[in-house]
Subunit: 194 residues, 4 copies
Amino acid sequence: MARVLPGYREQAKERIITDSLPVFIEHGYHKTTMEEIARHLDISKGTLYLYFKNKEGLFREVVAALRARNREELLDLLQREDLPLTFGYIFDLVMRASEDYAAFAFELYAAAIHNKELGEILEEDVREDIMLSREFLDQLKEKGIVKPDIDTCITARGFNALFIGLFTMAQLGISRDEAKQTWEEMCRVWLVKD
Amino acid sequence: MARVLPGYREQAKERIITDSLPVFIEHGYHKTTMEEIARHLDISKGTLYLYFKNKEGLFREVVAALRARNREELLDLLQREDLPLTFGYIFDLVMRASEDYAAFAFELYAAAIHNKELGEILEEDVREDIMLSREFLDQLKEKGIVKPDIDTCITARGFNALFIGLFTMAQLGISRDEAKQTWEEMCRVWLVKD
Amino acid sequence: MARVLPGYREQAKERIITDSLPVFIEHGYHKTTMEEIARHLDISKGTLYLYFKNKEGLFREVVAALRARNREELLDLLQREDLPLTFGYIFDLVMRASEDYAAFAFELYAAAIHNKELGEILEEDVREDIMLSREFLDQLKEKGIVKPDIDTCITARGFNALFIGLFTMAQLGISRDEAKQTWEEMCRVWLVKD
Amino acid sequence: MARVLPGYREQAKERIITDSLPVFIEHGYHKTTMEEIARHLDISKGTLYLYFKNKEGLFREVVAALRARNREELLDLLQREDLPLTFGYIFDLVMRASEDYAAFAFELYAAAIHNKELGEILEEDVREDIMLSREFLDQLKEKGIVKPDIDTCITARGFNALFIGLFTMAQLGISRDEAKQTWEEMCRVWLVKD
DNA sequence: GATGAATGAGTGTTCATTCAT
DNA sequence: TATGAATGAACACTCATTCAT
């Protein structure tokens, strides 16, 4: 690689972030070693520290990139005109987008409990997700798909919490079908005009 | 200590389980060392291995005891005649009972992803919790507090998922009030007769 | 057990020695734990230290008892009138008698290298064995079975060394037949009149 | 140290192997700690694990190197034209070459009893040694030094077994002279024309 | 920028031995 | 005499991080 090119550093960093993701996904944060990452990327361990302060720093950027990617994909999907606006379809969409994240979502949450800074980042993430949901619900309201009298602010929060809960249950072995069925029924009662 | 008393072993084991809990709570499973636990209990590291096969074994029993305690407390509370059967009150109750658990719930979930056996235990736990909720909802149905036409099986699942989601959000910094407000509103829409 | 009987201590000690042997045989000295021995004997670990200074002390007595037993058996056999005095038969006899010993003979030898006292005990053992062989060879000489001109002192030493070497080889995987064939041929050349 | 030199890794590994030998010799395998080895080599414990999977792995390579060195030395010596082909001389030669090995030969043998893989390695070693002896005996036969009618295959086995036995006895305190005298006399009777 | 050899603090676990009862 | 709970020194091994080249 031509190392004098401007932007080389950025590109290299991005490559590390992208290619580290599957390694972290395979074993989770704790059980993934810097050694393993370096081996998979076919670079030296030292190089990792050239671009990231430490393992945690690398991991954060990996997670941030994953979240950014997921959100983008999701936004793209949600804005397609031909989207079948059934709740079941939305569920499948978000669930699929969250799949990769699952491998270390809980490790992140666990770490956030003892790490204030990380906690703030994750809180911000959650709030953004809720905002997204709210916008989505507002759209559905306009289209007359959901009841006009719901408070989209609170409901978006409940909407996301329900998803997080079902996602958690799914990770623990509750079948995808059970989760989806629950999601659809709850959404129907919550949101749909009788 | 009277070491020859019958039942001494059981008591000693129980004491270790009880007194290890706060240590695990303080730093979570991974960052808690056997050394630290021993120091807090004022016993030697070797003694820990007298009662538990390894760190994981100790942790499992600590978690099991905590869950048993929580469930018992909860059942006791729910069966009191004078219980104010508002959803907000229930929320506070369960939230408080889950507080200690929070410190490593996510670590458990994370571990379960790569550990099938643990996964099965946690799934069983979740299913038990759902059954409990279902019974509770059935009671409320009988008392005419919730709508007669809801499917308590599915709703119990949604009920628990919503709680787990709000619990997760609360750990990540969403305020207790926001969570509670969301809970109350969602429950109202789901369950209460208009 | 009647603990006031005179000789109780001796009997108890002997029982421990006898019953520890199979435990040591199973895993060798190093990998056998006092815990394991106590469990097999159905007594407490503390009791072991009532009769023996430490693990090494117990082991020494176990080994001494085994050697005594082996020697006695061997002497008995060698003195039977109807003994078929072929070298192959002798080989089988001694080999069988040494079988149990094999499990830790090498550990003993290894330890003797760094432990002078143990070294002296084992040297004494070896010298006794050589004396025994010498007596045996003298008998065979009298009976005219071996050549009259051999120096039974030196030959006994060679006789035993050859056995130890073949025994060692047998432990390392050389087949019993190869060992026996070698023994018979060497003895023939050494000892038998042409 | 020039760490980027090609072959540095190999040299470093070899240095560890070479310099670990005396440490293992001093206390034997079991009582030698990785800590001790690192201290003697003036490197960190971690570095040892950079080059060897674990203690056993290091030990195996140490032993292999020692055996290779011994065999090479021996072959060199045996092929010298001016070799005084007396059995006593050979004995001294091999005995000296085996001296270092003595410190853990018995530990190896002991381990082989419970470790099939190691057992196979050692058996192979023994068979190689026997082959070597056989070739040597064949040479002596050609030169007319030993009797023409001996079966060099079986005799080589006996030859080696006798050596192993005397070597063992020597480690247990039998004097070198006694051993050598026995060796010479046995060889004379076995091998030399009257 | 890149390397990869070196580090060393940290951790779970074992087990012979002791001693109060 | 017998117990068995308690000890604590030891030890192998890991891995994030550093830094000379």
